[in-house]
Homo-oligomer: 317 residues x 2
């Protein structure tokens, strides 16, 4: 369930463009007006605004935004304004070019939480923008087990039907348990199962695993010392079986502790606000007993805070 | 360039259906009429005929064909009548379920000679028909180096632009040469390059290889004893750099020697007749000094021969 609020009567794209242009002109920028418009439009409406804006003013809306605003606020507004597939392509490209554990998460996330058709659209947008394929870039910038895991994840076109083969779930749960017990985390079969089976099938396999071996698979994927590959495997499994808990955890990590990880916070809010942010909010509350809006207000400020709160649907339209 | 001939005035789908129905009824089947209609319609026209047929007679055209005709003729007519993506999905599925060197070729061929968008459509058709993903099936039925090669090939969404990075071509040609010299044919980097780079980039890399190491890469991929994996790598490279020569060779192998490999012959003719069979014909002639139509007439007979010749565009409409 999405969180954004769209007014009952939506102005025409031409009207929205005119207001945005006003927000950009004169002394200083009217950030609140930018939020009042863009944070309250669906992806299709934002697309129509961008098209009308380019036609009317001969300049890309994203370019104008880039000139007028800055910092975390700019990043949130720009990412949100983009088409979902274009945004994911950009996030993936940034992640590929700057290798780190948290950037690795971005690739896993895109590979595992998008619908199959949407992931394909991301790959298309990637071609268009970067003149390379997503899997080509991921493969060229990774190696070893990480490559073995990430390349099929970003190339996947998982079957999305709900059919489950219980016999297969049983045999593959056993295979997974065997490999995990041997600590063969990069094993070909383990990676094959996780990267190619449908989400319904994998859920059945993980349930089977839990029943038969009396521990959830993710508990068996913990190690005493920090192991980035194991963390990646756990993230994949969480993305597949309970994306809302996964995203709630990314937000918790971004907010908790000293300082805020604005990049991660912005990413989750802008990519999920018109998908399932409502469910993520609930998962966050269940785990922390703190309302997400409250937590964000406490950890961010200014226009950046305002856009996030607006995307959460907590401002007054 | 396609070979099929479509009459200047094409009957309506309803008229075609009526004629087909006539061909099926009464004593014996009128095979020539079936060929006269189906072998002379484009993919879109065949699709329209199938839709009209199902609406009018409450039965799938493919089912009626299956009831009325048989053997190699049936297989050719049915494969040809299908949508290209549906046909490829079926060919891939048959290949996956019956592992052999020649079936391996089918998967390589589909992965490497289809346009990126078309390969995606094949994966979509595969979901619909088999309730599994193509890569899932390929991964589950293969292992070792073959899996490492085939899974990314059937999951690829290669960039199709013509941009070439010459520096990259140089460094990757060197890397390929290094691995080939070490006989490390299943090396991760070698497979990464071949399965993810765009065809334009790969062509530049292979040219660079030829220039710098004074031998075409495929010559360096030959071994004294038969090696199926090396043969697969050579086929991939041929599919990418000169698909018409690759297909001409598949046809040669199918026709030459004792007996005919009808499966391979039918596959190439039905999948390429509305794509590039004309160019394949030329490549065949160049290599054998025999006209492809002549070779097929000499090696096949009856209705099967007639449909192949019709798809080659050599019959009188």
């Amino acid at each position: 369930m999405a969180t954004i609020k769209v007014p009952p009567i939506v102005p025409s794209p031409a009207e929205d463009c005119e207001q945005l242009r006003k927000a950009f002109q004169g002394w200083g920028t009217n950030e609140l007006l930018i939020i009042a418009i863009l944070a309250h439009r669906t992806a299709a409406q934002r697309r129509a605004i961008r098209t009308a804006y380019a036609q009317t003013y001969g300049e890309e809306l994203l370019k104008s935004l880039d000139d007028e605003i800055s910092g975390d606020f700019e990043r949130a507004v720009v990412l949100w304004t983009m088409d979902p597939e274009e945004r994911d392509a950009q996030l993936a490209n940034e992640a590929v070019r700057k290798w780190s554990q948290s950037n690795l998460l971005v690739l896993l996330e895109i590979g595992c939480t998008r619908r199959s058709e949407d992931l394909y659209q991301v790959r298309r947008a990637y071609h268009e923008r970067y003149k390379l394929s997503l899997e080509e870039d991921v493969a060229a910038h990774t190696s070893g087990d990480f490559r073995k895991l990430l390349v099929p994840l970003v190339s996947a076109y998982r079957y999305e039907g709900l059919e489950v083969d219980q016999k297969l779930a049983k045999s593959e749960a056993k295979l997974l348990h065997e490999k995990i017990t041997e600590k063969a985390y990069g094993n070909d079969e383990l990676i094959r199962i996780i990267t190619t089976r449908s989400k319904a099938q994998l859920t059945a396999t993980f349930n089977q695993y839990h029943n038969e071996f009396r521990k959830p698979i993710n508990k068996n994927l913990k190690s005493d010392h920090q192991n980035e590959f194991l963390a990646a495997l756990r993230a994949v499994i969480r993305c597949i079986t309970c994306p809302e808990k996964y995203f709630a955890k990314v937000i918790r990590n971004a907010i908790d502790g000293l300082g805020t990880d604005e990049n991660a916070l912005t990413r989750v809010i802008t990519t999920r606000a018109d998908v399932d942010l409502k469910v993520i909010e609930e998962a966050y509350y269940k785990r922390t007993s703190v309302r997400l809006g409250h937590a964000i207000k406490g950890d961010t400020s200014g226009d950046y805070k305002d856009i996030l709160i607006a995307l959460l649907g907590h401002d007054d339209v």
